[in-house]
């Protein structure tokens, strides 16, 4: 039964990482503060259900919305910033958000918000396998959204911006709007994940969304392969499940995340199965015509 818990956590993270993947992998905008959006979604859902007594089904979309709106803000800020400045800004954004979570009493101070209720569907409390079903449903929705995005004008615009921003501007792509959208969509997905996270853990606090968590999400994104559909869930599954399979790893989670990041970025920045990576090429040879990544 325990693997149901593991699967649930894996998929929740995968949703957040999919958001990060859209911002970084597709649109090429570096975001080192994704955990902040996870937190915004989580706290929105927690506050709406515990303090205002709203139903989970109302809180879930509102969490995505609140994160989406803050994502617009960050996106707007990002327009004039180039790479390293943008990275610094997203780090700063993470710190500021967490500081706000800790400082204002509405977020529950250092212990955060407790007693977050489970969602109720047709009178049934969703826990265990039922909750996994809910998370899986949201996950599949996000995958479909991601698929659509990849093949839509939005996805193409993102790609052109990623490859060469100035050229994109020259061709008439409104770089500003799309940058904002890249952040907003990525944030919105993280907001969804945040709500699911809050109702799974039943308590959230500022310490759940600190910079180290952004690094964790980033390592999942990079591991699985930036800019691919299956990358997020693969990266998420590996990073969460490896310590379960190999007990010695459990004590050294952060070391594992950072070491993986360093090694991957150094030798295989596209991720294990990203475009042009070693594994992908081998698999492609093996499987003949099947294409694993959009060209």
């Amino acid at each position: 039964m325990y693997y149901i818990t593991l699967m649930t956590i894996t998929l929740i993270y995968a949703i957040a990482v999919m958001g990060l993947n859209i911002t970084m992998g597709y649109a090429g905008q570096v975001n080192l503060g994704q955990a902040a959006f996870l937190g915004i979604g989580a706290f929105t859902s927690a506050i709406l259900t515990t303090r205002l007594g709203l139903s989970f089904w109302v809180a879930l979309p509102l969490s995505a919305l609140s994160a989406f709106l803050v994502g617009i803000l960050l996106g707007a800020i990002s327009i004039r910033l180039r790479y390293d400045f943008l990275a610094m800004t997203t780090i700063g954004f993470n710190f500021i958000t967490v500081a706000i979570f800790l400082y204002y009493p509405i977020f529950g101070g250092s212990f955060g918000i407790v007693g977050i209720p489970r969602p109720v569907l047709f009178g049934l409390k969703l826990r265990g396998p039922a909750y996994l079903g809910l998370v899986a449903a949201v996950f599949v929705l996000c995958v479909l959204l991601n698929l659509w995005l990849e093949r839509s004008w939005l996805g193409m615009a993102f790609e052109t911006i990623r490859e060469d921003e100035h050229a994109a501007q020259a061709v008439g792509v409104d770089v500003r709007t799309f940058k904002i959208l890249a952040f907003a969509i990525g944030a919105g997905m993280a907001g969804l994940a945040g709500s699911l996270y809050a109702h799974f853990k039943m308590c959230v606090a500022y310490s759940d969304f600190m910079f180290a968590r952004s690094i964790e999400l980033l390592s999942m994104c990079v591991l699985g392969g930036l800019g691919t559909i299956y990358g997020p869930v693969l990266g998420s599954a590996l990073i969460i499940l490896l310590p379960e399979a190999f007990r010695p790893l459990r004590a050294y989670r952060l070391i594992m995340h950072t070491a993986i990041l360093i090694l991957l970025i150094r030798f295989q920045p596209q991720g294990l199965l990203g475009r042009g990576s070693f594994l992908q090429r081998k698999l492609r040879e093996l499987l003949g015509g099947l294409r694993f990544g959009s060209q």
């Binding site: 570096v30 180039r82 700063g92 710190f95 706000i100 050294y252 950072t258 970025i265």
Partner: protein
């Protein structure tokens, strides 16, 4: 959340806050200087610098506990930091110079976190006491301002080191060469400057400064924690943006300004936002409206 009535700004309070701010400022400077120097040369945000700071302090503590000789400890610390700096430069940054800009940045951040975790695993997660017999801790009340001898010591030593650094940068040949490389690497190469050696030299100097800085800070607070670099690591980003990326005088001035501004803001507006938030908001505003900071170049 804290409730603070607005305090009266007496002269002694003002001076006290300035003094506290100067102390925070020089502490930030120990990291910010290295950060700005590396950025000037390699255009990389060397956040891993803070792990050199932390490891320097831990190495110094270890040597001190074994030998009870603080000078030996500082020497050992300097040596180890120099090696660490070179290792990071050669092993992590140089191979990544042609990759997109976020690659070395992510590596640097990951390296910082990794080194802190290793530190915690080797020396323990809990604070370690760092009591140095030679560090006197008396305080004197000078006209309403409480000044500690250990505070003056810290100020004096770090300021001294900064002066030495400034001297090196501005009055020696190797300093001149460094500035040339920072300005334009290709031209410098054409002029016959061995860029590799210059980068090595800069890393060594800034790493040693960071290590000694970390040691002094550890002695000042009389304790070391594996994540002691957190306070300075991310704040240093703010400092170098404020001072101007790549500018050494900018880093010095920026550190002092941030230290003092932060102290005043916390004292009077501490009830609005937590300490961390102030610095980063300042940074983001600067990045948006005046990214060259005080002394940087407009790119």
């Amino acid at each position: 959340m804290r409730e603070e009535g607005l305090m009266e700004l007496t002269t002694s309070l003002f001076l006290q806050l300035i003094f506290q701010g100067l102390i925070m400022g020089v502490i930030y400077a120990t990291i910010a200087l290295g950060l700005t120097m590396v950025y000037g040369l390699l255009r990389i945000l060397h956040i891993a610098h803070a792990s050199v700071y932390t490891w320097g302090a831990y190495v110094a503590l270890t040597v001190y506990l074994a030998t009870h000789n603080i000078l030996l400890a500082i020497l050992a610390c300097s040596a180890v930091c120099a090696i660490l700096g070179i290792a990071i430069e050669r092993g992590l940054y140089l191979p990544m110079l042609d990759k997109p800009a976020y690659v070395p940045l992510i590596m640097s951040v990951a390296t910082y976190l990794l080194m802190c975790e290793l530190c915690a695993n080797i020396w323990g997660h809990y604070p370690l006491g760092f009591h140095v017999a030679e560090m006197p801790r008396e305080s004197y009340n000078v006209g309403g301002v409480v000044i500690g001898v250990h505070q003056l010591t810290l100020l004096a030593i770090i300021s001294g080191l900064i002066v030495v650094l400034w001297f090196i940068i501005n009055r020696t040949k190797i300093g001149l060469a460094s500035r040339a490389v920072a300005q334009d690497q290709d031209v410098a190469k054409v002029m016959g400057i061995n860029v590799r050696k210059i980068v090595d030299f800069n890393f060594i100097v800034s790493s040693v400064l960071a290590g000694i800085g970390g040691t002094l800070v550890g002695m000042y607070y009389a304790e070391l924690k594996p994540y002691m670099g957190d306070v300075v690591a991310y704040k240093a980003l703010v400092v170098i943006v404020l001072g101007g990326l790549g500018s050494v005088p900018g880093a010095i001035v920026g550190s002092l300004i941030l230290g003092i501004a932060e102290t005043f803001l916390i004292a009077f507006f501490g009830h609005l936002l937590p300490r961390e938030a102030f610095a980063f908001i300042i940074m983001i505003v600067l990045l948006l409206f005046r990214p060259q900071g005080l002394f940087g170049k407009v790119e």
